[in-house]
């Protein structure tokens, strides 16, 4: 229909939306413009329905649950008499529900709320719209049904506000207490700094575990085990057990991000934070475990088996590069069966050791055997 071809800037699109008032419209795309909410059937592009934003009284969210998707409920003014024909002559409901089967509800709700607040349709030329709400007072004329609905919405809003403000109040009180803990830890840290020799190893370790529990950064600079605590020590030992086989399967070396994913996927619950992992790995060497943490010049962090010798691997990398004449990190990674990240680190190390030299062009970084060294 011709009234739907207006090109108002479309601000947002979300897929797989159901709308239902009396009957369901399934599987569509929802579009938001400065003036309208438009739903278009995903399969039958001719089927398209729209609502001017000016017709919306209030919107609310319904969170997703088991077996049901997140929704936005859009409450509407009664239709004006000069409304153009739509999918239904009339409906006993004064709202529609938009069901987001494939997510997007949070962002869409945010953008729709923004448009409802800004009300840009009031300032921009109306052009050819479906329903013309020229009279600014039109919104003020209420049918009896609407008053009842608005009252209910108001109550619900107050209830939600009350819940939120109660949660917020409780949160503020909790934070006050947490703040006291932070102050306390600072004063203890100061005492430790002053006393230096008088504090036992045990007490320092215990203090560190308090900080860990509270999520307070360690202010004490004197370190024996890094930021490690007993927890991290235990974790380090666990990791040595878990990672032995995966490391052997991957040529003796893995990046820390790989380890993070592997370990957390295996755990399922009570996951490790990135900092937990790093702090545990820093203790591997001092605990004489068969793995170690290594940090390359680039900042890339890896876990290696103690038996792994990256410098020896460099020798075999040199052979591979020589055979092929030259290789990029991508090509080398594919040949050898390693991740591109680690392949690059190995080639860079080989270069650092003088075995390879680079050709750095816009086509990429390519490594060649260092003939300056071998042929004089």
């Amino acid at each position: 229909s011709s009234s739907l071809t207006q090109a108002f800037p479309v601000l947002m699109a979300a897929r797989s939306i159901k709308t239902f008032a009396t009957v369901k419209f399934d599987s569509g795309v929802l579009l938001l413009s400065t003036h309208r909410l438009i739903w278009r059937d995903q399969k039958n592009h001719e089927c398209c329905i729209a609502i001017p934003l000016s017709q919306i009284v209030f919107i609310e969210e319904q969170a997703a649950g088991i077996g049901k998707s997140a929704k936005i409920v859009v409450h509407l003014h009664p239709a004006s008499s000069n409304k153009e024909p739509g999918p239904f002559q009339s409906s006993k409901y004064s709202y529609i529900k938009l069901s987001f089967k494939e997510h997007g509800q949070i962002e869409f709700y945010r953008r729709l709320s923004e448009e409802m607040t800004q009300r840009r349709w009031e300032n921009m030329p109306a052009g050819q719209t479906i329903q013309v709400n020229k009279d600014p007072q039109a919104g003020r004329i209420r049918a009896v049904g609407i008053v009842g609905i608005e009252r209910k919405l108001e109550e619900k809003r107050k209830e939600t506000d009350k819940n939120i403000s109660e949660a917020f109040e409780d949160l503020s009180k909790l934070m006050e207490k947490a703040k006291e803990m932070v102050e306390l830890s600072k004063s203890i840290a100061n005492k430790i700094k002053e006393k230096q020799g008088d504090i036992t190893e045990d007490e320092t370790i215990r203090f560190k575990s308090y900080l860990l529990s509270m999520g307070i950064a360690n202010p004490v600079t004197r370190e024996t085990y890094g930021s490690g605590t007993h927890y991290h020590m235990q974790l380090a030992k666990q990791l040595a057990g878990i990672l032995q086989t995966p490391l052997e399967e991957r040529g003796g070396i893995m990046s820390l991000t790989e380890v993070y994913c592997l370990v957390n996927r295996a755990r399922g619950l009570e996951l490790l934070s990135p900092e937990d992992l790093v702090n545990a790995c820093k203790m591997l060497e001092s605990l004489k475990l068969p793995l170690r943490l290594r940090i390359f010049d680039s900042g890339v962090m890896v876990i290696e088996l103690q038996s792994h010798n990256e410098e020896e691997m460099v020798a075999s990398a040199l052979e591979t590069v020589s055979e092929k004449g030259s290789l990029t990190a991508d090509e080398f990674a594919k040949l050898v069966g390693m991740s591109v990240l680690l392949a690059k680190e190995r080639l860079l190390l080989a270069e650092k050791m003088g075995h390879l030299c680079r050709d750095d062009s816009v086509e990429g970084l390519r490594f060649y055997p260092n003939l300056f060294l071998t042929q004089s």
Partner: protein, 223 residues
């Protein structure tokens, strides 16, 4: 201190019993919670062993998100060189999480990414336009590179002339930056463009063509 700690733990348990669900379901409340923690000097995500993580369950939520972010970035790296918009990352993560998973906001993603930095893989957050580019490779991107990325964000590509006129740089400086982006696979060169060569950022392709669509596309979308 241990007495105080026990008392605090009890307070937190009480708070959790009343509001744990609110934190899980309400992204705005999560933001408030995180901001207040930051103000007083507490990091609720520092450790999975922390009280916050154990009792409020915030830890698992963000650490798992971290895993999903790493996986998405790795899967798309060959295409975009390790740069991706927050929007595209958001979409891909939501897809991966499946229909029944808890919804996540862009703020949640940013917090998870900030935590991932410590793993040394080069995770970084670059503000461009009104949004962010997420870097997931250890490529060095300094102020010059960032500024050019921001310039390119509007159209998805940039030329040497545009850099010279907008940023008032010498040609050599502009070329150096663009070549670095090419080498890292973050930019592609279009030598067949009318006029001068255009440097396109694949990270920005979907930014232009998914959520926010142009009027022309809107016209086509509506019969």
């Amino acid at each position: 201190m241990s007495k105080q700690l026990d008392m605090f733990k009890t307070n937190l348990e009480e708070f959790a019993s009343k509001h744990k669900q609110e934190i899980r379901k309400n992204p705005e409340f999560r933001v408030q919670f995180q901001d207040m923690c930051a103000t007083i000097g507490v990091d609720p995500l520092a450790s999975g062993k922390g009280f916050w993580s154990e009792m409020l369950g915030v830890g698992d939520f963000y650490y798992e998100l971290g895993v999903q972010i790493i996986e998405v970035c790795l899967a798309l790296k060959h295409r975009n060189g390790g740069l991706i918009t927050l929007e595209e990352l958001h979409q891909q993560v939501l897809k991966g999480r499946g229909k029944f998973a808890q919804d996540v906001s862009q703020d949640d993603l940013l917090r998870a990414i900030k935590k991932l930095k410590v793993l040394g893989n080069g995770f970084g957050i670059i503000p461009v336009g009104g949004t962010y580019l997420i870097q997931s490779v250890p490529a060095e991107l300094n102020m010059d590179h960032t500024v050019v990325l921001q310039l390119a964000e509007k159209k998805g590509y940039v030329t040497v002339s545009e850099i010279r006129s907008s940023l008032k740089w010498e040609t050599e400086r502009a070329k150096q930056v663009l070549e670095h982006l090419l080498k890292e696979g973050m930019a592609w060169l279009d030598t067949q463009a009318a006029g001068e060569p255009q440097y396109w950022l694949p990270a920005l392709f979907t930014e232009l063509y998914s959520q926010d669509i142009t009027p022309e596309e809107a016209k086509e979308a509506i019969p």
